[in-house]
């Protein structure tokens, strides 16, 4: 028992150490991210002292970019399941060694989600009121309490799965199936649930016709399953370039077909929604009208949403065409898909829900500089986390960082003279 604990602590210690070792590009990248993290932290401290008045939010538009980014990132986290399903259910060989990068992305995304909801709270000091047993979690009535449970649960599941598999690899022993396979299958359902619950957060509000529509849930999933794997495709290419970790083109093309199908469904659902809103022309169309066409001279979101629609369509066509079998075009398609969905599902979903207000007032919303810095800070922090996770896991998966070389001089962990031709 004591030995086990000591071994595990050594493992953690070596992982922590390696996060501080790399070549100059690594240091530059990490330093850049740290600068943004600190700028964000500074902006958040200002908000903490003076209140949410330093944001662009108001009683009319009471949620803004924080919740918009949160919504998008829940989708990114959920999308890890699109690698898990092929590997664990269909035994896909290509993705087998890559699925962990998807799960680690989910962990980073959930960390960002939790940060985004925390900065949105008026009284972050009272977060303990949400802890069951200690506080007063309104479960099961409030959808937000469901969200608290599913997000934290999903975080724990993924941390367990990734942590366990990496530790086994580190020790060079075969993972015991009972210790992770059940969790993997729970995580598959859980991934769908985190995004469905987040959709229900909006769908459940009868007073907001823009959100109170049953298509929001399916649209959330379709857009998540296109933007999430698109991010994974780009991340894998970065990993391949900077670490020489073996990633086949075939694996990327498998992911491409996932993004392709999801994107087609996503655009189809969008068409459904637009048709229903505009053709019937009833009074509840004001929010959609504001979003797509502008209302009474207010049209802050119009250029954004048309950009998103254009990006989504271009991305869809690129993905359908054989052209995107070439990785360059696939990258373009993925980038367009990510940006398009980020706009559409972030600002494009959250803000119009508030405009006009239930009493018909038209007040627009623009994020303030301080608010934007907080967002950039959280994104930088998320990327920092993901980079660190990769920095730890790639050498472990390559066998460079393992129990076998524990007793070698410590600097070897960082710049291995080992057979692996790692540029670091």
């Amino acid at each position: 028992m004591i030995k086990g604990t000591r071994d595990y602590l050594t493992f953690l210690w070596r992982c922590a150490r390696i996060a501080f070792v790399g070549d100059w590009r690594y240091y530059a990248w990490m330093a850049g991210l740290t600068v943004f993290c600190l700028l964000g932290l500074h902006a958040y401290c200002i908000q903490f002292v003076h209140g949410l008045i330093v944001t662009g939010m108001s009683d009319e538009v009471s949620w803004g970019v924080y919740i918009a980014n949160f919504t998008f990132l829940v989708g990114v986290a959920a999308a890890a399941v699109m690698m898990v399903i092929p590997v664990y259910i269909y035994d896909n060989e290509e993705l087998h060694d890559l699925v962990i990068f998807g799960e680690l992305l989910a962990v980073a995304a959930i960390i960002m989600c939790l940060a985004f909801v925390t900065v949105d709270l008026g009284r972050p000091d009272r977060f303990w009121h949400l802890i069951p047993g200690l506080g007063q979690l309104n479960f099961p009535r409030s959808m937000l309490s469901w969200d608290v449970i599913v997000l934290n649960g999903y975080l724990l599941l993924n941390v367990h799965i990734c942590g366990y598999l990496l530790y086994c690899r580190y020790q060079d022993r075969k993972p015991s199936k009972w210790f992770y396979i059940p969790f993997v299958f729970v995580a598959i359902f859980w991934a769908v649930s985190i995004h469905t619950v987040t959709a229900f957060l909006y769908v459940g509000l009868g007073g907001r016709p823009f959100w109170n529509s049953s298509i929001v849930g399916p649209r959330f999933l379709a857009s998540a399953f296109s933007a999430g794997p698109a991010i994974i495709i780009l991340a894998l290419q970065v990993i391949r370039r900077v670490t020489h970790y073996h990633i086949t083109d075939k694996a990327l093309l498998t992911l491409r077909s996932i993004v392709q199908v999801s994107m087609i469904i996503n655009v189809f659902l969008l068409i459904n929604e637009v048709f229903k809103e505009f053709y019937s022309g009833n009074l509840h169309v004001a929010s959609s009208r504001y979003l797509f066409l502008g209302l009474d001279g207010h049209h802050a979101l119009v250029p954004w949403i048309w950009t998103a629609v254009a990006f989504n369509l271009i991305s869809m066509f690129l993905l359908i065409l054989p052209l995107s079998r070439s990785l360059k075009w696939l990258d373009v398609a993925c980038a367009l898909c990510i940006v398009g969905i980020w706009i559409e599902k972030g600002m494009g979903l959250v803000i119009p829900g508030f405009i006009p207000t239930p009493l018909g007032a038209l007040i627009e919303y623009t994020p303030s500089l301080n608010e934007t810095l907080v967002c950039l800070g959280i994104w930088a922090f998320g990327l920092l986390c993901y980079t660190i996770f990769l920095r730890m896991s790639v050498p472990i998966l390559q066998g460079v960082l393992s129990k076998a070389n524990e007793n070698l001089p410590e600097s070897d962990a960082g710049a291995p003279a080992a057979p692996a031709p790692s540029p670091r």
Binding site: V49, D125, R126, L205, P356, G360
Partner: protein, 317 residues
């Protein structure tokens, strides 16, 4: 660096020099990092009485013992005294038995003067800068109840204006309140006299209730409320008009500090045309019972929401 072989003293010196340089770089990096961290945290120096330990540890309203409540009230009175230099009288007023409050508003009479809006701000210790108002008066063209046609910012020489009617909207005290359903921490609930209240010391400020309310009745303290000393209303209730903190929700509570001791709400008292009627629906002889029995046309705003408000609008000829 890593694969240096320790064979000759010259190489070893070289290694040592490199190691020294590395240590120096490391400690300067750590120092720079810590200074940058301190600089980022510097705005926190302006953080004055954000939350006391007692406030932080305070229990949920429904779980407080009478002793807990006495302590909480004392803390609030002390805080107000420290901040405003006057000692208020804070009470924890519970709902009365056999009472369910209902509000009726005569749209034929209302002239849109907004006196109710300002009386409410004064009575309920709302922040003056930025000003928080619980009542929003809508100016609507005759013949429509569509709020999308409403003018919120009307400002003519004199009211009423021809061709329009005025509809003040405040918390409708629903039988089936969406705000209560969505609150993740039970910080807002409906009491047995029908009033939906908020525990300002329990709200976490997520603003989900504000998104859920179909009547736009909830208001958030985006910053520390600012009330001039001389304007403070010292007759306070725990679930009512005691001063709020930054980052919590508030809204109309039918003036619990008045109505639970048998007085009328401030908005009713100030109304110059008698458009506002308030009372106990469980009492068949009350004015509101009479109105709901006898008036031919009355309206629950957005009835189709299924919220079943305790706030009724009616017309008379």
């Amino acid at each position: 660096m890593a694969s240096t072989e320790k064979s000759s003293p010259a190489v070893s010196d070289e290694t040592e020099r490199l190691l020294n340089r590395r240590n120096f770089l490391r400690s300067s990096a750590a120092f720079a990092g810590l200074s940058a961290l301190a600089a980022s945290l510097s705005p926190l120096r302006e953080l004055h009485d954000y939350s006391s330990v007692e406030e932080f540890m305070q229990k949920y309203y429904k779980e407080m013992t009478p002793d807990d409540m006495a302590r909480a009230i004392k803390r609030i009175e002390n805080e107000v005294q420290r901040q405003y230099g006057i000692r208020p009288h804070v009470r924890d007023l519970r709902p009365m038995d056999g009472v369910e409050f209902v509000y009726c508003l005569n749209l034929t009479r209302c002239i849109g003067c907004r006196k109710c809006v300002h009386a409410c701000v004064a009575e309920n210790n709302q922040s003056r800068n930025p000003e928080i108002q619980y009542i929003r008066v809508l100016k609507l063209p005759h013949g429509s109840m569509d709020v999308d046609k409403a003018d919120h910012l009307y400002n003519p020489e004199a009211v009423p204006e021809k061709g329009f009617f005025y509809m003040p909207v405040q918390c409708q005290q629903c039988h089936n309140p969406p705000c209560v359903k969505v609150c993740p921490v039970h910080a807002t609930w409906q009491e047995k006299d029908g009033i939906t209240v908020i525990d300002y010391d329990w709200c976490i400020g997520c603003r989900y209730c504000e998104a859920a309310c179909p009547y736009w009745a909830r208001r958030f303290n985006f910053t520390k409320p600012d009330i001039p000393k001389e304007r403070l209303n010292l007759n306070m209730a725990y679930l009512g008009n005691r001063p709020r903190k930054q980052g919590v929700m508030e809204k109309c509570h039918f003036c619990v500090q008045r109505t639970r001791v048998g007085r009328y709400p401030a908005c009713l008292e100030v109304c110059p045309v008698g458009a506002r009627k308030f009372g106990n629906i469980l009492d068949p002889d009350s004015e509101v019972s009479y109105i709901l029995r006898e008036k031919r046309i009355f309206i629950q705003l957005k009835e189709e929401m299924g919220t079943n408000p305790r706030f009724f609008y009616y017309f008379e000829k």
